[in-house]
């Protein structure tokens, strides 16, 4: 009712607001659009000024980027880390949260305090680094998939969500003689798809975008994820991942700039493809978090 009433004649304020928001929206899109256009441009014209449309048109930068096989390795590593981490994250978080909804479980208060303390105190970067190092996790794929997978905040959200599920579901399962693990995997988790989707997506995007962990903990090139390649190209201007580029430039239409842009587009393409569909889950995730906070 209230909604309908608010749809009155457009006032001057509305026109200004709509236009302002429209310009903002273009500002959010423009850098990505520009990058796409650069990646499609001819690199030969060094003085070319690309502001909105490509100068020339070709896919050579992409061909060039993918012709050196290493980028597939980086992509495979990123996918592997994201999938591995999200699996461990969801599984262990659900396992840690589930006992909290069972009346018989002793130690709820202790575990609760144990977790909440970590929300307010931390050792800081340097002690953390040396702990990870002492555990022998440097240059290990596990450093990308294990540390920080179980956090107080997510466990608390999972716990709250599990509590909101109808209790009769559990009771009937226990009456039928199901064990705790079966109840968790066959009753609780199938009822928590929205929760798992939300936190799963957060985790996947987080791992996909993480450049800091591999920067400090990984040395071996064959373990590096895609963000490390991007950081070299975009920030350090280091083109070791596009070998023989100087030679190639003479013959082809690519430059370091068009390759850089192609690399950005190749990395964000998967995110942009799924983004419109997954967006509602992210919104939901903020809401779930907000209720708790």
């Amino acid at each position: 009712m209230a909604k309908i009433k608010r749809l009155r004649r457009m006032q001057l304020f509305d026109w200004i607001n709509y236009a302002f928001i429209g310009i903002l929206t273009l500002m959010f899109l423009y850098p990505v659009w520009l990058t796409l256009m650069i990646s499609l441009s001819d690199g030969t014209d060094v003085l070319a000024q690309i502001t909105f449309l490509p100068v020339g048109f070709n896919f050579e930068s992409y061909q060039f980027l993918f012709q050196d096989g290493r980028i597939f390795r980086y992509f495979a590593n990123s996918i592997g880390y994201s999938v591995g981490r999200v699996t461990i994250h969801l599984l262990l978080t659900a396992m840690m949260a589930f006992p909290f909804i069972i009346a018989d479980f002793k130690g709820k208060t202790f575990l609760n305090i144990y977790m909440v303390i970590t929300m307010f105190f931390s050792g800081g970067l340097i002690p953390y680094f040396f702990v990870v190092r002492a555990l022998g996790l440097i240059d290990s794929i596990w450093v990308m998939m294990i540390p920080g997978t179980v956090g107080a905040f997510t466990v608390i959200v999972f716990r709250t969500f599990f509590k909101s599920l109808p209790g009769e579901l559990l009771e009937s399962a226990y009456v039928d003689g199901a064990g705790h693990y079966r109840v968790l995997y066959q009753i609780i988790l199938p009822c928590s798809k929205a929760l798992l989707a939300t936190f799963g997506l957060f985790s996947i995007v987080g791992t996909w975008n993480d450049w800091f962990t591999p920067t400090i903990f990984l040395r071996r090139q064959e373990l590096m994820p895609i963000q490390i390649m991007l950081r070299r190209m975009l920030i350090l201007m280091d083109f070791r991942d596009a070998e023989n580029m100087d030679l190639q430039i003479i013959r082809t239409l690519v430059t370091s700039r068009t390759i850089r842009s192609a690399a950005v587009m190749a990395t964000i393409f998967p995110v942009l493809c799924v983004y419109p569909f997954l967006q509602k889950y992210f919104t939901k995730g903020v809401m779930i978090g907000a209720i708790k906070g």
């Binding site: 006032q11 070319a48 396992m95 006992p99 069972i102 144990y114 970590t118 050792g123 340097i126 968790l184």
Partner: protein, 305 residues
């Protein structure tokens, strides 16, 4: 489930599965949260990785004494403070304003579209955001400098200019986070009782007055809570993003405590001193949080505790 009074051993046996369930999480938190907390002892040691946390020699407060005379630390601290203040002044209100403007859009399709687009930058990695920024600001081929040139101004090498760093940092931070940050305020706005607006309209309040007298007071508790957190993080900055932006030529404005600790502790060899600086900063941050919380409690009813 009703065996509340059962002896502990019997309970353990019956619910052993529950205890094995929490075990992995318990251990991960122990190892990756509590071990580093213990590791803070390195700030009081002459820590050497081969000797470890238990074997290194204790030196008391020597590293903390060094902080006081360290001019590089002082510079980093002031930079952190300035950057944090600018961030609270500019970046903190931005999502609130955006949410208020989104709320005034009355065509739902347009609203959904602009919201969806505004969240998008949040899902790009910092490497990409800073990479795009570098390209757009490049002296020779960046759009911004092409524009400056076309309008008859001199080209600016933004990433080598210390006076531009803060603007770029705060600006790119807003670009990346403002849309996503508005979600929480929109949720708060959605929870406002429509009858309040109804009543205001009957009293002849126009939309501006409705926003001032109904919307803003209604989302104030959310604003205050997030403000307290923002004040607690005022010295934290988003220093990993700074690592992607800064270079020695602009350290005078861009080197903050986080980057300084990273540089001397992980890239350089002063681990113990870096840990001491990090510990000092955590303490100050908690103090900021407590003071802000106290002030908010005095001024209104909303506070963290």
């Amino acid at each position: 489930m009703q065996a509340k009074s059962a002896p502990i051993m019997k309970n353990l046996k019956k619910n052993a599965a529950l205890y094995t369930m929490v075990l992995p999480g318990f251990l991960l938190i122990l190892i990756f949260s509590y071990f580093p907390m213990y590791g803070v002892v390195m700030a009081f040691q002459n820590f050497r990785p081969m000797d470890g946390f238990f074997g290194s020699e204790f030196v008391g407060l020597r590293h903390f004494e060094r902080i006081i005379t360290d001019t590089l630390f002082r510079r980093a601290f002031m930079n952190s403070l300035w950057l944090g203040l600018y961030s609270v002044i500019f970046a903190f209100p931005a999502p609130i304003l955006l949410a208020l403007l989104f709320n005034e859009i009355r065509h739902n399709k347009y609203k959904r579209f602009v919201q969806t687009v505004s969240y998008m930058p949040f899902f790009l990695s910092s490497v990409i955001v800073i990479g795009l920024l570098r390209d757009m600001l490049s002296v020779s081929s960046g759009v911004v400098n092409i524009g400056l040139d076309a309008m008859g101004f001199d080209r600016i090498d933004f990433f080598l200019r210390a006076d531009w760093f803060r603007t770029l940092f705060i600006g790119s931070g807003i670009w990346q986070g403002v849309g996503y940050g508005s979600i929480i305020y929109l949720a708060a706005i959605a929870g406002i009782n429509p009858e309040l607006y109804e009543a205001a309209r009957i009293d002849g309040g126009n939309r501006f007055r409705q926003a001032i007298h109904i919307t803003i007071p209604s989302i104030l508790p959310t604003v205050v809570i997030l403000f307290i957190f923002a004040m607690g993080g005022i010295l934290g900055n988003d220093w990993q993003r700074i690592l992607l932006m800064y270079n020695p030529a602009i350290y005078s404005t861009s080197d903050v405590v986080g980057t300084y600790v990273y540089r001397i502790g992980i890239e350089g060899g002063s681990q113990s001193y870096a840990a001491a600086v990090g510990l000092g900063m955590s303490v100050i941050s908690v103090v900021f949080l407590v003071i802000t919380n106290y002030i908010c409690k005095k001024l209104g009813e909303t506070s963290l505790w």
